[in-house]
Symmetry: C2
């Protein structure tokens, strides 16, 4: 059964109910068609996949006056982010931050004593599952009523040729095809990896139907692994990271990484580096019962009913490769040029499908750049550098060079840091700002770390690193200023909103008077 919704103008709440129903009866084919049958123009592009890239690409193309169609297998636009990726991760990371605060303050002021209390993982997952249709509904509403997009939802599209996609019994033709088919979590391959109780970020929010026991094994050492692992740890569970090489190699600045890992360890997290899972054992009912881990000290067995694998993602390039013959790279990604064109004429690819960085900004921007190229603009998009962040129990933000890379590249590097680089610096009440004030006053070592890296000769900021809260947003804009050549003098001349999470403005001002700069 298909429904033509072109003349429906559902409110966000009505959309919420529709999506809820469609997600519940997902076994019955039921496509929603929002097609402007009055528009007789050929489509400039079909976006196969309505995730971040497809939706933003469509919005841009439509705004430029073109005609587009999104075909999306889920009953909502926005893709994996609001359904099982960035949004649940943010909810879990918020719980991690909040639980760490409440545990640290236990029994002080008005805080309850959570010592020894293991809080529910399943309840938080349930909160997410129940609420996620809210953001979904906004995307559908906004895309139809505000962005004037055409789309077909809740039906898998099949590529017929570079100009044709079939969906729910109809064929659509377009001048161009834009593939935005995303990526999927990489799975473990060792014996027992199929057992129940072994989750990826995707299956966790879809499938978790029991309360995990008191021990968690997290496999992997990168963003996803650490973000979920810190949440599990914050719930009060023993949490062991099994990492093939090193934890958090993506944080290049060694001092920043050290601060992050030290705080994780203080929260009781165990990090087993140079280690790998050998196999999982079955509890006799198809559920994981234990994990055998090869460590530098020999084989270790951990009994657990809950394993999380954060091993990265594989682009969903199979259909495009098979049907269209688009060229694929070593990591299964669809290869594109800076115009987002694949090896097949009129076929573009965007988002996670084209490989790293698998970040939201790249998904969305690659979509809009593909749209602009389709509409005749000369563009090039090939991200080489960007500000970045991740969650532990904290927000960790960084941009530009690590101190080590800066020292390799420039003759003389100045650093400006907080806490001060003194023997007792870590135990003093600075840095401090929104969301770290209670730490600053009661557990100062937990109030964060920040470092600015400056090339002495040019006086330019070449890197910045922050562990704490409330600086992630500013790194988006500070990065732009850094790319313009921001100097310590310009930074010191800005107007701080004190107590600012990045203390960079005022700390720079304390040193900017020097002709020959000094560390602080």
């Amino acid at each position: 059964m298909n429904t033509d919704i072109r003349n429906e103008h559902w409110s966000i709440h009505e959309w919420q109910n529709q999506i809820d129903e469609l997600l519940e009866v997902s076994d019955q084919p039921h496509a929603l068609f929002n097609i402007n049958e009055d528009d007789t123009r050929e489509y400039d592009a079909i976006f196969l996949g309505g995730g971040a890239g497809g939706r933003f690409g469509s919005a841009y193309l439509r705004a430029m006056g073109g005609r587009q169609l999104i075909i999306e297998r889920w009953p909502f636009l926005g893709g994996s982010c609001p359904h099982n990726a960035c949004v649940p991760h943010h909810l879990f990371s918020e719980c991690a931050a909040e639980l760490m605060l409440q545990r640290t303050m236990a029994g002080r002021l008005w805080f309850q004593d959570l010592t020894g209390v293991v809080t529910s993982i399943k309840d938080v997952v349930d909160v997410f599952r129940k609420g996620r249709v809210g953001p979904h509904a906004i995307m559908n509403y906004q895309s139809k009523e505000q962005l004037d997009l055409e789309y077909v939802l809740n039906a898998e599209g099949t590529i017929i040729d570079p100009h044709t996609v079939e969906v729910a019994g109809r064929r659509f033709k377009a001048k161009n095809l834009v593939l935005g088919l995303g990526a999927r979590a990489q799975m473990l391959t060792c014996p027992g990896a199929h057992l129940k109780g072994i989750f990826s970020y995707e299956s966790l929010v879809e499938d978790l139907d029991y309360e995990p026991g008191n021990t968690v094994v997290v496999i992997g050492g990168s963003k996803t692994a650490v973000e979920y692992g810190c949440f599990f740890n914050a719930t009060g569970r023993r949490t062991i990271f099994v990492v093939r090489t090193e934890l958090l190699k993506l944080i290049h600045d060694l001092e920043t990484r050290g601060f992050v890992i030290d705080r994780m360890k203080e929260q009781g997290i165990e990090i087993w580096e140079g280690s790998e899972v050998e196999h999982f054992t079955d509890n006799g009912h198809g559920h994981v019962a234990s994990v055998q881990i090869r460590t530098p000290d020999g084989i270790q067995t951990v009994h657990t009913d809950f394993v999380f694998a954060g091993l990265g993602e594989t682009p969903n390039s199979e259909m495009a490769s098979k049907v269209l013959g688009v060229k694929i790279g070593a990591k299964n990604e669809v290869l594109v040029n800076p115009q987002l064109q694949t090896s097949v004429p009129h076929v573009y690819a965007i988002g996670d499908l084209i490989g790293g960085p698998m970040e939201m900004f790249k998904a969305r921007k690659s979509g809009t750049y593909a749209a602009r190229h389709i509409m005749g603009e000369e563009i090039a998009y090939d991200p080489q550098d960007w500000p970045d962040f991740m969650h532990t129990h904290y927000e960790v933000s960084w941009m530009g060079l690590s101190e080590e890379a800066a020292r390799a590249q420039y003759e003389n590097i100045i650093t400006i840091k907080m806490p001060p680089d003194t023997p007792d610096g870590l135990d003093v009440a600075l840095p401090a700002s929104d969301r770290t004030m209670l730490y600053a006053f009661l557990e100062p070592r937990m109030s964060g770390f920040q470092k600015l890296i400056i090339d002495e000769a040019s006086r330019r900021v070449v890197g910045a690193h922050h562990v704490g809260y409330g600086a992630k947003d500013s790194f988006q804009y500070l990065y732009q200023l850094m790319k313009q050549g921001l100097t310590i003098d310009q930074l010191g001349d800005m107007d701080e909103l004190f107590l600012n999470p990045t203390h960079f403005i005022q700390l720079s001002r304390l040193r900017a008077g020097h002709r020959k700069l000094k560390n602080l």
Copy 2:
């Protein structure tokens, strides 16, 4: 007794102990002299007052190669901010945010049920009082060991003439005198205003020695009043704002102000506008027992043992006016030109002493600009416009024009908002980001508000407004970009760190494709 500490090199922790002791025996004169007796040069400037302006001005002057001396009555540098102003306010606002979250989530997930529980105000004040020497110690340490400043602490300086200050029995001479004597809380003048239990931000952290009862009267409607009042409300007390005109007039954008005030009211705050205190009654022991308030509906009596007055500040200009004859303005501020020079040659004034904006950035920057002028640089400093923020239970940040002012100034204004401007928009789970995720999923109306204001013709951002968390820091940098002429197209081309607290980048990108812009 005076102590020469020039050759002491105390750690931050040792400084902490020193300051603690000096604050406890404040009735005994005991100055600390950190004077470089080997330097035979005349001082370029004496900074009278070692608050934000004096300390930053000194640091800048010293970095430029000049010689300076700070004379400070307290045993620490940094002034009122870490002692009784911005730092305690941030701690209290953090408690307000945290208590609102815990009360809102009461009984859900792992949250304790705080329904009906009144939490201690005094305990939080005590935490601050006990911890504030930490930041003090850092200032003293940093100023001596890292910034190489000379200073005399814990002794009142007396101005002798434009080149001479006497302190603890010694006279110091300098080419210039920089006055950084700050401001003090304005006091109520109505009958009973002298009673115990009526506090300003200063006296609250110095004098509170009992647990306030369950009703609080807050007098005033500006930043300080609201910041403290929201904390008192969050502790579970009935909180009444008595405001002569309107609450929060400083938030110019009416929609933003409306959102802020609606959320305050939902927390149970009572706002009595057009009202004034007539007098306070005594409980027979010199403590306030009730407040008589003239309201538009007649006289109301509120029984309370705890009143907070947030009425603004008066510059401490009396000594300078009397001894030096510097010209004073209508609000008791020392008048200066853009070179920070007073009406008396060689006498500069900086910080809160010169009047509004009494903000940290102005205090510090006026100090550094005075230093640069003294050292021969041609400078001008006269802040007309700046990004701004305040706390309610939220962080509220703004910059540039309100929507109303923008519409008056430009032919066509575009707004880009979250939550979406629909009948059910407020009750949907966006905006959402760090520290609002639990609200987004469980109490969506509490997850914040944000608005970008764009001049359609130039496509430039002319204003931005945000209620939530984690955007304050970014407004510092976004403001710089706005001043450069930031367009919606440039904004849409940035790399968002999703879920970013300001959704401005991605929301702009959804509209930037339009030649003729549209609201979102």
